[in-house]
Symmetry: C2
Subunit: 181 residues, 2 copies
């Protein structure tokens, strides 16, 4: 999976590069590890933000964090930092020999939308898939337009639908890969 | 639901009062609102921690936060601060006329364990239920022993099972109340 910090939109719909949030890295890597995801790409073109991610990961992999909490180390090991989605896809191609199909999340329904049940079946079809999550107020429209598929938004049972990206990531992985027993 | 900061255990199994985490309040109240939970109790006996929760909530309900992000306000409105679980149960009794049945989460299986599917059915039986989550390394054994039910731990599809309480809360609510379409 990939967590994208650019190009995303802000509250007013303007395209921005969002700041990296420490707990996104922790919570999403722990969920990724729990559900057997192969890699967790953190995508940002900003040098200072890449430096921040490196520092956080190094603390838990090589620093005192790893000794204090070895389980956290296992999760944060999944993090790979990249400038762009193109670089993520190149990296996956180098590792598995083929480009993955991409699936993004969006609050708007469109013709390429697939349900969670359908995508859960697709994950068993032998192809590789890259699940892409946006930060801020979501991925930009043009970015969404370039993806192979769009996943249904996570809906609860109320009109309110404003989960954090950390919560949404966990719910998605559970629907797609969890056992629910 | 209730998020308990005392009595919980630390890394070494010792009973402690854990510190409140800002993003627990945000993420869990947003998930609670998304899935139609009636109240989100934050339980801590520590005066400074209660003051911290009050400040955070006031910022989003009455301060600049509410103007900046009205959706966040709707979620944080669900927060009720209490000293102990007994006070939570009193508050529910005052509001709905009856004490709720309590259900806790634990990593250990025991005779009162119910599956997510079973608890999802129970939620339709006309009773009120209070789902209790622990912080730190989890709720104390004696606290767990006093609950009416114990919910199965959330398991992924790997041996690794270390979700944050924020992620676990979102997955639980989705399994119990979500639509998965």
């Amino acid at each position: 999976m990939a967590l994208v910090h650019y190009p995303v939109v802000n509250k007013n719909g303007k395209i921005i590069a969002s700041a990296v949030t420490n707990l996104d890295l922790h919570d999403i890597s722990r969920a990724a590890k729990t559900y057997g995801v192969r890699a967790f790409y953190v995508v940002t073109p900003l040098a200072d933000q890449k430096e921040l991610v490196k520092k956080i990961v190094a603390h838990w992999l090589k620093g005192t964090g790893g000794t204090y909490n070895p389980k956290r180390k296992e999760a944060l090991k999944l993090i790979v930092i990249k400038n762009t989605l193109a670089e993520v896809i190149d990296d996956i191609r180098e590792n598995i020999g083929d480009a993955p199909k991409t699936i993004v999340t969006s609050a708007n329904q469109n013709t390429r939308t697939v349900s969670f049940k359908r995508f859960r079946e697709m994950l068993q079809d032998g192809n590789s898939y890259l699940l892409i999550l946006g930060t801020g107020w979501g991925l930009s429209e043009s970015f969404i337009a370039e993806a192979d598929y769009v996943l249904n938004p996570v809906s609860g049972n109320s009109g309110y639908n404003h989960l954090s990206v950390r919560s949404a990531a966990a719910v998605m992985l559970d629907r797609l890969l969890g056992k629910n027993d």
